[in-house]
Symmetry: C2
Subunit: 242 residues, 2 copies
DNA sequence: CGTACCTTTGACGGCTGTCAAAGGAAGTGG
DNA sequence: CCACTTCCTTTGACAGCCGTCAAAGGTACG
């Protein structure tokens, strides 16, 4: 397997030629170790760098008018972080690590330079942004109209499907480094209610969560309850390569 | 004022040179009249065209597992429609007109071709996608954690601010072609409750809505209640032109 | 080992959904 | 221009999901 996480990420969607791979590998010359809770950037800081996440988990957040933190988005290994706002002068969301890991920083001009040299890469960056957006739409439609139980099921299925995309042999028992406060913030609930619903899902034999590990006992039933639309994760972009 | 709505749209953010403008104007050679309720495309149709909206309003929607329509997004004159999913093989959301208007269709390859010729345009397309995304984030954080009253205030402020960006002398009384069912769908409420909250806002002297017209009576108080973060609408992209 | 954080549980209240019905507005066809 | 149908809006009663507050026990980290 190639060492580059962007190359792996994009090859998951469609094949890149050697020239494209070389351009992408430029982005990852400087992997840096990151500690849990460490910021990639804070809200309102000037935006000049993007990151790729080589290992570990991260999340994007905002602060509400009342000063509470609201988590917007979760990043997994292989994800590009900051693609959707590198054209803003400053960051509208903060990003920090959820676990220890490694991240690679590169200046945003590199993306424009790469696009100039390869139409395939231009399409790939648009496609990646589109996929992220599609997942967001999927979450939005669920979060807005559904019960807390369904929200939780939906989010767990989302994470498992995305994780399976970058982890070849993912078990039903896997790392799930979210505490109930962060889950609540992501799903528009309170930590108290997340606790109640998790106990309920556990009581019904769907899953169990201890510490930072989640085990799914009945995937089919969980998927059924989540009503997750898998299409948002599988763009068919091969035709772009014609 | 130039006749091209994309040029106007982008110039609102940063200046384009004549070459860029010429490339963009290519996109708008074929304006077509569109009727209210007419589809630009339906869910699952093959994605091959993008549209710019020359005049009129449109919205993107999905259907829930139970078959109900959920509105995800609203498009105003000058908006580019389909930018965020043109790299998917098929459409994940449907788009239809909310009012009569004119739309210009063009093949998505034209965007990639334009990006190949101008780094400024590449940045501009990314920036536009980023702005759209930022507005979505702003709505998401509000919709998830706030009261129905705040959701409505927030959405009304969003629309007014976006409308003001393309309508030089926008009054406090303006076209607002949403019925309560669509508002409910956008905000994750029921039409019954939208009716209740609208009456309440009217009773409190903040606004009044008749048919397809909205009049804001106390903008400051409405903006205060909405807690709208204006930053998401104002990317400072001038530095990209260096 | 102590402190801070996280999770669980209970009681209570309120916001919002559901169901239902009636009146009004708008679009259609004669 | 009128009659008819369909859709939209309003209002009320009622229930339930979920937020808030509080306290206690468990867990992680220095």
């Amino acid at each position: 397997m190639t060492g580059s996480c962007i190359v792996r990420h994009f090859n998951h969607f469609f094949p890149l030629d050697d020239g494209d791979e070389a351009l992408l590998e430029e982005f990852e010359r400087h992997p840096e170790p990151m500690r849990r809770h460490q910021h990639l950037w804070r809200i309102n800081e000037t935006a000049c760098m993007l990151y790729t996440l080589k290992s570990g988990w991260a999340y994007a957040y905002r602060t509400s008018p009342r000063g509470e933190m609201k988590v917007l988005e979760v990043f997994l290994p292989g994800d590009i972080i900051g693609l959707h706002d590198f054209t803003f002068g400053h960051h509208l969301t903060g990003v920090r690590m959820l676990t220890d890991g490694f991240a690679c920083a590169f200046p945003y001009q590199d993306i424009l330079a790469a696009c100039e040299q390869s139409r395939t890469l231009t399409a790939a960056f648009f496609a990646d942004s589109a996929r992220e957006r599609a997942v967001m739409n999927e979450r939005l439609t669920t979060l807005m109209h559904c019960s807390a139980r369904m929200k939780l099921a939906h989010f767990i299925i989302e994470i498992r499907l995305r994780l399976a995309g970058v982890t070849p042999d993912l078990e039903q028992r896997f790392e799930f480094p979210f505490n109930q406060k962060i889950l609540a913030s992501l799903l528009g609930l309170t930590n108290v209610h997340v606790s109640r619903v998790l106990s309920e899902l556990e009581r019904d034999g769907l899953l169990s969560k201890q510490r930072r590990t989640l085990e799914i006992h009945d995937y089919d039933r969980l998927h059924e309850e989540a009503q997750f639309n898998d299409a948002c994760l599988h763009p068919d972009m091969h035709r772009l390569c014609q």
